[in-house]
């Protein structure tokens, strides 16, 4: 369920997405300039939506897939704003804003009516910590994959001796994209690791065992191993640039598969079936 704040947020995200894409296509008037403020405004409205629902639920509002998706989109929006402003990489908006818009729009349509009651056992201080860490990790992986796509596009254009994009001179360098990708992966990996650890501690406190091999746990471990291998290939074998970008995208598709698949097809406790 969502509050009245979510629909205007979706509209703002849509406008921001249009602005960022227009900027990539060479527009340099107000649509391009308005894109970042629109994205920020959308994120602000969504923050209100999350806050209101959090207060209603008495905890972080992530009890089903749609809510998780909305929360993930919100984190992605905030992180992409940080990259756009702090790292001066408006190109991030061109993939992040459309993704955020899509995710929130889908979630708004999917949202189940009514409120899902959370079992008392789960009403723990560990919940916001565990979920935020996990979704923060995923959001960072979303951006890493997006930055990798940008890398591959720019790389291809550079090899073909064409301008990188319409804002050629202001486009981030390949080295910067590669470095940002690495940093996003590194921090994302750290978040995922902490999420798994906190999840285990919480499970132990609630059910008396750290690990129960339910689908979400198994997949998380698999993804953790894949990202570890990805980071290892860079650190040990020196794989970077094109190869690193392609691998980031490959691992991310596995992540998307598990996030969607586990939540919709084989939900365990993580999918909202807390029985």
């Amino acid at each position: 369920m969502h509050t009245i704040w979510l629909i205007p947020a979706v509209i703002l995200y849509a406008l921001a997405a249009a602005g960022f894409v227009a900027e990539r296509l060479g527009a340099n008037g107000w649509p391009a300039r308005a894109a970042t403020p629109l994205l920020a405004a959308g994120a602000a409205l969504q923050s209100i939506d999350l806050l209101v629902r959090g207060v209603q639920a008495g905890n972080i509002p992530v009890t089903d897939f749609a809510q998780s998706l909305v929360f993930l989109a919100w984190l992605t929006a905030l992180l992409s704003l940080y990259l756009i402003v702090r790292f001066r990489m408006p190109v991030v908006g061109a993939f992040a804003a459309p993704l955020v818009f899509l995710a929130v729009a889908i979630a708004a349509v999917m949202a189940r009516p009514g409120r899902i009651a959370m079992p008392g056992a789960l009403r723990s201080a560990w919940l916001p910590v565990h979920v935020t860490l996990a979704l923060l990790g995923y959001a960072l992986f979303v951006l890493a994959a997006g930055v990798s796509v940008v890398y591959l596009v720019y790389e291809k254009r550079l090899k073909a001796k064409r301008p990188l994009d319409a804002g050629d001179q202001r486009a981030p360098s390949l080295e910067k994209l590669d470095r940002v990708n690495y940093q996003l992966l590194g921090i994302g990996f750290l978040m995922l690791s902490l999420a798994i650890i906190t999840g285990a501690i919480w499970a132990d406190a609630t059910w008396g065992h750290y690990w129960s091999w339910e689908p979400e746990e198994t997949w998380s471990l698999a993804i953790w191993i894949l990202y570890a291998a990805l980071l290892e290939s860079r650190l040990a074998a020196g794989w970077r640039g094109r190869r690193a970008a392609a691998l980031t995208i490959a691992v991310f598709t596995v992540l998307v598969g598990s996030f969607v698949g586990v939540s919709l097809i084989a939900p365990g406790k993580h999918g909202g079936n807390f029985g």
Binding site: Y154, L158, K159, K161, R162, P163, L164, D168, Q169, A171, P172, S173, L174, E175, K176, R179, A237, G238, W239, R240, G241, R242, R243
Partner: protein, 442 residues
């Protein structure tokens, strides 16, 4: 036959680098080539050879453009060992106004790969110096080149054409900025010492690269350049270990074959742990194998590629270029007026009228005495002087016409005769004095 300025050549627009590199002359060979051309193309009265990475052109003065062109094409084919069919389709031929305009446009950097880039003027000055040294530049080319330099200067002063990132060197630097976030931890390897390569290295150095390594066939040259740019010199026969260190390699060697091939560089890339490498090939012929671009994290740009990279702010430059074209056009007009002044016909007219004037003047001077004579006697004297004038003119003019066939001597002879006989010139006074002397003697 009229003497005209002619140009025949290829440039970056008409011929790919693969053709240009086969036609291009090394700088040290240009003077000798010019001398050979002079022998092989007798139809060219004057000649200069412009050979840069982006153009190979022969500019000359001739009375028979078709013959001069044919001789030049045959010469280039033979001298460069390239079949005429391979480059003939890429050739442009200009004569008279078009040729002069082309020369001025080249000098003003309007015909450059990167419009407004400043290096072409130096290269044109070089070409002129070689022609002057070899003795193939005569009256017309001297004037034409000097005029071209003046036009270039005027264009540079009165338009913004040279502003911004317009040179190939800056294009290379822009490119480096697309690959590398910072140059502060990068190493540049400069191979060879072409003017453009040096400028590129200088621009990169100014942005603050960590280190610059210079290698060149002549080690002393490398040492001197390294000292000037604040880098280190590496011996040429042992430059390969430095490839591994270099994030940017600028190739500007005069080498018959490619210096770095893909198999070799693949090893280098692995040793570099796939750190990106930018290879800038400014050599003509090219120094780096074109297949290097396919290697992972390797970006190879040759001179033709750099033109695509500098597309930005083209609109502004085109506006300034339009202003420059107007300047060129007016200067072409003024040069052609001068050149036409050299033509035989007006010169002959001038000479005839000068001599006629002398006769009229003498008749006028003696009009008081002439008036005392019988009309018949007066007629005889007038006839006698007219005959004398005609005989003198006939000798001068037929001599001029004969030498006129041996281009371009006719033009010069006529010009000298015209100046000597011109009533308002110093030569006129001289003639007067001599005439007076003659009077005294008689």
């Amino acid at each position: 036959m009229r003497e005209t300025v002619v140009i025949l050549g290829v440039n970056h627009r008409t011929a790919p680098v693969a053709v240009r590199e086969r036609l291009a002359y090394a700088e040290h060979d240009a003077s000798a080539a010019l001398a050979r051309l002079r022998q092989a193309a007798p139809a060219l009265g004057e000649a200069a050879l412009i050979s840069t990475c982006n153009r190979v052109e022969v500019i000359g003065v001739t009375a028979d453009a078709e013959r001069a062109w044919a001789e030049t094409v045959a010469f280039l084919a033979r001298d460069r060992g390239i079949a005429a069919d391979d480059f003939a389709p890429a050739l442009y031929r200009y004569r008279e106004r078009d040729a002069v305009r082309h020369l001025f446009r080249v000098g003003a950097s309007l015909d450059s790969l990167v419009v407004g880039e400043p290096q072409i003027l130096g290269q044109l000055k070089n070409a002129y110096a070689q022609a002057a040294e070899t003795g193939t530049a005569g009256l017309v080319l001297h004037r034409a080149f000097h005029k071209a330099f003046a036009v270039a200067k005027r264009v540079r002063k009165t338009t913004l054409i040279g502003r911004g990132s317009v040179s190939v060197a800056s294009a290379a630097v822009n490119l480096a900025n697309k690959i590398f976030d910072t140059l502060a931890d990068k190493t540049v390897l400069l191979m060879g010492a072409g003017a453009m390569a040096e400028l590129t290295a200088r621009n990169l150095q100014r942005l603050g690269v960590r280190s610059l390594i210079v290698t060149s066939r002549t080690f002393d040259h490398a040492v001197a350049l390294a000292r000037e740019l604040g880098g280190t010199a590496a011996p040429f026969d042992d430059f390969r270990p430095y490839l591994r260190l270099a994030d940017v390699v600028i190739g500007s060697l005069a080498a018959a074959r490619t210096v770095i091939g893909p198999e070799e560089f693949e090893g280098v890339i692995r040793e570099r742990r796939y750190r990106p490498a930018l290879l800038i090939d400014l050599g003509v012929p090219r120094n780096f194998d074109a297949r290097l671009n396919q290697l992972e994290n390797v970006y190879l740009y040759d001179i033709d590629d750099l033109s695509g990279v500098v597309a930005e702010s083209r609109e502004e430059r085109e506006r300034e270029a339009a202003k420059a074209e107007t300047i060129v056009e007016s200067e072409v007009g003024s040069f052609l007026r001068w050149l036409n002044g050299l033509e035989l016909v007006p010169a002959i007219k001038d000479i005839r009228s000068s001599v006629e004037q002398l006769r009229d003047f003498e008749l006028l001077r003696h009009r008081a005495w002439l008036a005392t004579l019988e009309p018949a006697e007066r007629e005889r004297i007038e006839g006698l002087t007219r005959g004398l004038v005609n005989k003198i003119l006939h000798r001068i003019l037929s001599g001029l016409r004969e030498s006129g066939a041996e281009a371009p001597n006719g033009i010069y002879a006529a010009e000298i005769a015209r100046r000597l006989l011109a009533p308002d010139s110093a030569a006129d006074d001289l003639l007067d004095d001599q005439a007076d002397d003659g009077d005294d003697e008689s």
